[in-house]
């Protein structure tokens, strides 16, 4: 039986926002730069159509903030940066994720022997 597709989508969506926050850890990035770097990560399977709306929500929830910077080519680029709230949310997710994913891995690998 195939796993419930919507469940996988929900899980992916939930984790993805922290991946975006993690990409902003310690540095500002503008939209396109962020999209490129994150879409190069294999297995994440994320497209532009998902990241931009996600960024807009993270901004609304005050996990990131933005500022416009003029680029050398005269283009205005919107740079994203983690807020204090964003850093806290990311750190707390990281801890919980580590514990949870290790536990799931362990059960998946040796569930029958436990």
């Amino acid at each position: 039986m195939e796993p419930d597709a919507s469940l996988i989508t929900q899980m992916r969506k939930g984790a993805l926002q922290y991946c975006v926050l993690a990409m902003l850890r310690g540095r500002e990035r503008y939209g396109y730069e962020l999209v490129r770097s994150i879409s190069e990560v294999e297995g994440l399977d994320i497209t532009e159509g998902t990241i931009y709306p996600l960024l807009s929500r993270l901004k609304r929830e005050k996990l990131v903030t933005t500022r416009l910077v003029e680029s050398e080519e005269g283009r205005a680029r919107r740079y994203y940066r983690l807020t204090m709230t964003g850093e806290v949310a990311l750190a707390s997710f990281e801890v919980q994720w580590n514990v949870f994913s290790k536990a799931v891995d362990k059960v998946l690998h040796q569930g029958g022997e436990l």
Partner: protein
């Protein structure tokens, strides 16, 4: 691919996106979103190797159809993606309370992240405005609107005394009513509204007040639906509002002096 073609295709995409975002996000965020997507297309285009039509179409394809992209941006679709139940309950409570007891409903609506500020303002205006308008009407009706000094009392005494008129005038000034003195055939006394008329007016006022709250609650309920179902309900909803408004106009507002 030349510059004009590029502008045309990108302009078309952004125009569709802008239209699809209308009504689901605020004007400011709509502009910001369209700007950001425009920026992205420009950046991706400059970075593309061939700068062919196919490259551009690929960039747009990765963003998705403008309508789908707009759907991703709408707060209600994002709300569904987070499993938190709280804001949902709050918005349901807001809708129900708006119909039953509007001050509480409106306060709850303002607390909920489910609606745009514009929607909350419309709901507040509808409920509070209807209340003030009808309260004003009831007060005016309670004062009688006009005070009639009947100096032709049963045709026996022919006129009111000066003192009587003076006292009556002061009284009507205090009440803020319009003074009508009637004493002969040229100025006959206006007929008193019958009890039945007063009751009928009261009932209509009461119903229209309830109607306003119902419309406001319906409006909030409609605005918290995701976009596709909202579009399906928009026409029946506007028809109901239109019929209600015409009814109110014909029965209450137009007969007012």
């Amino acid at each position: 691919m030349n510059d004009r073609e590029y502008q045309e295709i990108v302009g078309d995409y952004l125009g569709k996106l802008d239209r699809a975002l209308r009504g689901s996000v605020s004007v400011v965020s709509r502009k910001e979103i369209v700007d950001e997507v425009h920026q992205h297309i420009d950046e991706a285009w400059s970075a593309s190797t061939g700068r062919s039509r196919t490259d551009l179409l690929n960039i747009l394809d990765r963003l998705g159809e403008p309508e789908e992209l707009a759907q991703e941006y709408s707060p209600s679709s994002q709300m569904q993606s987070s499993p938190s139940k709280d804001p949902d309950l709050l918005s349901v409570a807001a809708v129900v309370c708006t119909a039953l007891f509007w001050p509480l409903g409106v306060i709850l609506a303002w607390l909920s992240p489910r609606w745009l500020v514009r929607d909350k303002a419309i709901a507040t205006f509808l409920t509070a405005g209807a209340f003030v308008f009808l309260l004003f009407n009831v007060l005016a009706a309670g004062n009688g609107g006009t005070a009639v000094l009947d100096c032709n009392q049963s045709q026996r005494s022919s006129s009111c005394s000066k003192a009587q008129i003076q006292q009556f005038r002061q009284q009507s000034e205090r009440d803020g009513t319009k003074l009508v003195t009637c004493w002969n055939a040229l100025q006959p006394c206006p007929p008193e509204p019958t009890v039945a008329q007063n009751v009928a007016k009261g009932i209509i006022m009461g119903f229209s007040l309830i109607g306003f709250y119902f419309v406001a609650a319906m409006f909030l309920a409609l605005r918290r639906l995701p976009l596709p179902s909202r579009r399906a309900f928009a026409l029946p909803f506007s028809s109901v509002v239109l019929v209600g408004a015409s009814f109110l106009f014909i029965t209450v507002i137009s007969p007012l002096p």
